[in-house]
């Protein structure tokens, strides 16, 4: 056991907390589920390896480093992944500043806050790397098995990516703290994190739409124009890509840069950690005066009162808005495509329909959780003289109104070009939203809105059912928009998912 107040001691403490947090996340806090979860994870890993074999096995022996086009493709994919890591790291760093949890204990103790922050930065980097490794591992393992050990270098590249992403996330967050203050940083950092996470993929899609009329993000990366504009084959820009492909020198350089960036960031910013955390703690006791257009009570029925409350709470919660913004950002390329392909017939629109339907399902799931499960005053609502069914109806209406506000403009724009596509899109959006909301109703649990991030842990069944339902309805809408009769089959599959989920719902729902 290491001596207290050392980096190793803090690291051990953080690792223990992190591990228990992860186990709780996986088992939804029930230790009895640990074995089931372990078996499920092993099966999932096996499935992912089979899937990865199907996707990448054919590239294992290829001489991939020989041309610029390949390096552009790999680098593009790495930048895409890195932008997601940066987004995640930025959100973790923001949380490290603002979440009180044990900070009051640590900051009031005689230990060095610098050491605590150094370890927490390491933990953030570790978490970012871990998630990326878990996602990439099946592909790397298949490539190494089929093509040789040099593919294992990809793990080191991921490590370097996680380290640089954390270093830059810390620098960006601290820069925000110093320029716009503690109060605004929480909101702005979350928005920036959401935008960074989506920006690169959306940028590629927008480029592809503008120049090639397609939503495929790879169209731009694989284009002759991009290859022609790319630096020479010996440029250091390609080092991470070369490292992925097993170039020893490039691998060493990439890892060194990553670890150096993280070490520099820790050394530069950890001494001010306590100051920032204390500044952040003052935010929660700040006063927000609310100016309303009317200072009179409005005539509200219970349903209208409940709907108005949901809209107000959503509008005033920047964190929830930023969480939803991520999904809204992905609607930008379809919007651009709609504008770009206006007057060119219904062909390009068919691509948009499933994206809208999928977004509708995902957004509805989140909003339905907030309205139904994330009720901060459950006793007040439950003791009100309103029938339970009326309360549920009001909350569902609030969700559907939000969905209508977001998606009606898209449907109307589609209708200007193709009425059939518009009808299919509208039906798909409504069905996906209704399905996600119904699943949330079946699996509702009492929670606070601040637990939104962890809503998926309450019920794995609900999480997977919501995702599969959205995917199935998106596929159904795409097939229907394309005039394929297979839509009937996927539609029945969607109903089957709902029926299966209904069977698995908790008793009494």
């Amino acid at each position: 056991m290491s001596r207290p107040d050392t980096l190793a001691w803090f690291a051990g403490h953080e690792f223990r907390l992190g591990w228990r947090d992860w186990v709780a996340l996986m088992t939804a806090g029930r230790r009895s589920r640990a074995r089931t979860v372990a078996v499920a994870l092993i099966l999932f890993a096996a499935f992912m390896h089979v899937f990865a074999y199907w996707i990448v096995a054919r590239y294992a022996d290829a001489d991939l480093a020989s041309d610029t086009a390949t390096l552009v493709g790999i680098t593009g994919t790495l930048v895409l992944s890195w932008s997601l890591l940066l987004s995640q790291a930025m959100e973790s760093v923001t949380r490290a500043f603002y979440a009180r949890s044990d900070l009051d204990l640590i900051l009031s103790s005689p230990v060095s806050a610098r050491k605590v922050f150094a370890v927490r930065m390491g933990r953030i980097a570790g978490a970012a790397v871990m998630i990326a490794v878990l996602l990439a591992a099946p592909f790397i393992n298949v490539l190494a098995f089929e093509g040789g050990m040099h593919w294992f270098g990809a793990y080191a590249v991921i490590l370097a990516m996680g380290a640089t992403a954390t270093a830059i996330a810390v620098a960006l967050t601290v820069a925000l703290f110093r320029t716009i203050g503690a109060k605004r940083t929480r909101f702005v950092a979350q928005i920036v994190a959401a935008v960074i996470g989506a920006a690169f993929v959306i940028g590629l899609q927008i480029g592809a739409i503008q120049y090639y009329g397609t939503l495929s993000r790879f169209a731009l990366l694989e284009s002759d124009t991009m290859v022609a504009l790319a630096p020479g084959i010996d440029s250091i820009v390609w080092w991470p890509a070369r490292a992925m492909l097993g170039d020893g020198l490039a691998l060493a350089a990439t890892i060194s840069v990553g670890l150096l960036a993280l070490a520099t960031s820790i050394a530069a910013f950890s001494p001010r950690f306590a100051d920032h955390a204390i500044a952040a703690s003052g935010v929660s006791v700040g006063v927000t005066r609310q100016v309303r257009w009317s200072q009179r009570f409005r005539k509200l029925s219970p349903r209208r009162a409940l709907r108005a409350k949901e809209f107000t709470l959503l509008r005033r919660d920047p964190w929830l808005l930023s969480q939803s913004l991520m999904q809204m950002l992905y609607l930008l390329p379809p919007a651009l495509m709609l504008w770009h392909s206006f007057g060119e017939g219904s062909g390009p629109l068919v691509l948009m329909v499933p994206i809208l339907v999928m977004a509708s399902g995902q957004l509805s799931g989140g909003l339905a959780w907030l309205a139904i499960s994330g009720e901060d005053a459950p006793d007040l609502v439950a003791t009100a003289p309103v029938a339970a069914g009326e309360i549920i109806r009001a909350k569902v209406e609030a969700v559907m109104t939000c969905i209508a506000v977001v998606f009606v403009p898209f449907v109307l724009a589609i209708a200007l070009t193709s009425m059939i596509c518009a009808v299919v899109a509208a039906a798909g959006i409504v069905i996906a939203a209704a399905s996600a909301t119904q699943i949330q109703l079946w699996f509702r649990a009492q929670a606070r809105r601040s637990q939104f991030r962890r809503r998926h842990t309450a019920s794995r069944i609900a999480t997977f059912a919501e995702a599969f339902s959205s995917i199935t309805w998106a596929a159904t809408a795409a097939l229907a928009a394309a005039g394929s009769s297979v839509a009937v089959v996927t539609g029945l599959a969607g109903l089957g998912i709902l029926a299966g989920t209904r069977l698995l719902r908790p008793p009494g729902r």
């Binding site: 006063v287 609310q290 009570f297 409005r298 009162a305 709470l313 005033r316 439950a382 003289p385 029938a387």
Partner: protein, 259 residues
């Protein structure tokens, strides 16, 4: 206070044979009668079943057995009608951080279908009484616990309930806030309202309550005015604390207690 409950008073709450079991009996065949215009304090050791009892009366828990009648309304078969004249306030003030007290009260008035103009007058009165005026248009997210409890109390009173059910409403309040809350509750009782409250602060029960019920292991083991409770112990005790400790120390003759 401590006026005996006259027989000709209207009955505000009748509970008969109320039972609720979790992994063990939490409330066991409880009988309770509370009169209109009465301040009733329910005291008992931790885990005695006080909160479970009140949550069932407020409609937050479904009893396994028994009946609950609020002002002549069967609360189990007509819950909406019963809730219309009832208010619930717990020890943990549950309000919306992103709403202001003014907006919170508007929301509550909407839920209880109160006329907007009348509710606004009442809300402004309550905001004034509870000293919330300077904060009426600030979001509740920065409020102290005491202020949050005051907002929740205003929400419980804005619809002018006949029966107010409070579970440890003074927990965590400073002396000034506690005094204010107590005064508002006594004012409600003087105006004809009925209050039933659990508390661990025996001094509060002693000073405020007309009658006190002592609950242990899910059963009402003693009930009456302070003087009646003193007499029940058969000792020359001088405080409710002594009486309470004597009463709960005696074995309760029922299976749940034997567990």
């Amino acid at each position: 206070m401590h006026s005996p409950a006259p027989a000709n008073r209207p009955i505000a709450l009748v509970v008969r044979g109320l039972s609720k079991r979790f992994d063990r009996p939490a409330v066991d065949a409880l009988d309770l009668t509370i009169y209109g215009g009465e301040f009733y304090a329910l005291v008992g050791p931790n885990g005695a079943g006080k909160t479970t009892t009140l949550r069932m009366v407020a409609g937050l828990l479904r009893p396994d057995a028994g009946s609950i009648t609020i002002a002549g309304i069967d609360a189990l078969s007509r819950p909406v009608d019963a809730k219309q004249i009832t208010a619930w306030l717990s020890d943990e003030p549950m309000i919306y951080d992103k709403l202001t007290p003014f907006e919170y009260l508007e929301f509550v008035a909407g839920l209880w279908r109160i006329d907007a103009a009348a509710a606004e007058v009442r809300a402004r009165e309550l905001i004034g009484w509870l000293g919330l005026e300077p904060h009426a248009h600030e979001r509740c997210e920065g409020f102290s616990r005491g202020m949050r409890q005051k907002v929740a109390l205003a929400g419980a009173l804005v619809h002018d309930p006949k029966l107010i059910i409070l579970d440890e409403p003074l927990t965590g309040l400073d002396a000034g806030s506690a005094r204010l809350v107590k005064n508002v509750l006594l004012e409600r009782v003087r105006a004809g309202g009925t209050v039933i409250m659990t508390t661990h602060i025996l001094e509060v029960a002693e000073r405020m309550a007309d009658r006190i019920g002592v609950i242990a292991s899910g059963r009402l083991i003693a009930e009456g005015t302070l003087a009646e409770l003193h007499r029940k112990t058969g000792k020359t005790v001088i405080s409710l604390e002594d009486t309470f400790l004597t009463l709960v120390a005696e074995p309760v003759a029922h299976p749940a207690a034997a567990e």
